[in-house]
Amino acid sequence: YNHFPRHLKWPNTDVTFRIVNYTPDLKKSDVDRAIRNALNAWSDVTPLTFKKLYKGNADIMISFGSKEHGDYNPFDGPNGLLAHAYPPGEGIGGDTHFDEDEDWTKDSSAYNLFIVAAHELGHALGMSHSTDPGALMYPVYSYSTGYPLAEDDIEGIQALYGPNPNSRKVKPRPDAPTKCDPMLSFDAATELRGETVIFKDRFYWRLHPQMPEPEQTLIKSTWPSIPNKVDAAYENPEKDLVIIFSGIRMWALNGYNLVDGYPKYIHKLGLPKTIRKVDAAVHIGDTGKTLLFTDEEYWSYDEASGTMDTGYPRSIEDDFPGMSDEVDAAVYHYGYLYFFHDHVQYEYSYTSKKVIRIMRTNAILNC
């Protein structure tokens, strides 16, 4: 986390705020609720209290405006800059402005006002931007549900104001996974147009042969319509599609776009209704089959006919000697199947039909 220079903060913990005007995108009550909930996220973990004023000057004046809106710090139309706020202080200090040219929502369909307000009010209390992609105070917008502050944010605000005297415990938003954590495990992995994409918690890493450093990004930043938790994923290169599994539903992505008609239920593939989750999926280009792993078994789906092959499910252990565990994620490269389970990666040779190498899971992330 970071503070502003000189660690600017409010001299006392009873702070006032006023909502000067409202966006037409939402009901007034929705705006009131989003702002109140955003302030509560910060008061939950500090001694700060927020009193709402309806006229006159408050510490934090909240307003919606577009382009040049009176502070010589113009907005830029839709997207790009969403909002800004000023650090604690007299006059414009603490004031928080939202770009009216954005589409403000209370869900993930556009820019969620609660999320952006929680971030901006962090600035109004003295927080600057964090370099932790899992933190609320990270500069780039990302949608998420639940309590918005990560451990990083809580440490930062408590360094300014101390903890909540009632010590009401909140469950911080999980921080971003660190790629060289020796115990790192994967949620899912897939190829995507020549790159390898690895999913973990709310994030994914993009691996490209020419890019030595895997790039970590929030799932929602790239694909807002898919859930924050991915169970399995595979690419069908013939159709230029990536199928994402989460729970009993699956999404089809064409690059960055969700294919019409999705999400669908996984049982459309021919899996029995007793299957409630796919652990891993991988497409074998040489055979045109997609293997779907569930607990200790796996299924073979024929992409060309769009049907499940007969004689399945079969035991993973029987058909992949050396693979004694369930599978978290799987990818296929040049005749080798890579199975990931917990912090271990198994390299299985299709030709010699056995596991020929065992590595750490995050070896694929250059750790």
């Binding site: 800059l81 969403l82 600035h123 917008y141 790039e215």
Partner: protein, 83 residues
């Protein structure tokens, strides 16, 4: 990297303008022309590195794809460093 011989394509020029605008707003890049026409100045390269460091990108000083992609993401209007 842009080769000094060939003139910049309009797309490269757009990228350079986008980067200058972004780094001016969020990283305190001084206003005014940056170096010779279309060539990133040392000051601009230094600010690109500062931004790449902040976002844990590979620090190259060049406007590579990841860096430009991040500059186009919707974000907060408060600078990432300093006042």
């Amino acid at each position: 990297a842009h080769s000094s011989a060939a003139p910049l394509s309009s797309e490269d020029k757009d990228d350079l303008l986008l980067a200058e605008k972004y780094l001016r707003r969020f990283y305190g890049l001084p206003a005014g022309l940056q170096g010779r026409q279309g060539q990133p100045s040392d000051a601009l390269k230094a600010k690109i590195k500062e931004m790449q460091r902040f976002f844990n990108l590979k620090v190259t000083g060049n406007l590579d794809e990841n860096t430009l992609e991040l500059m186009k993401e919707p974000r907060c209007g408060v600078p990432d460093i300093g006042e």
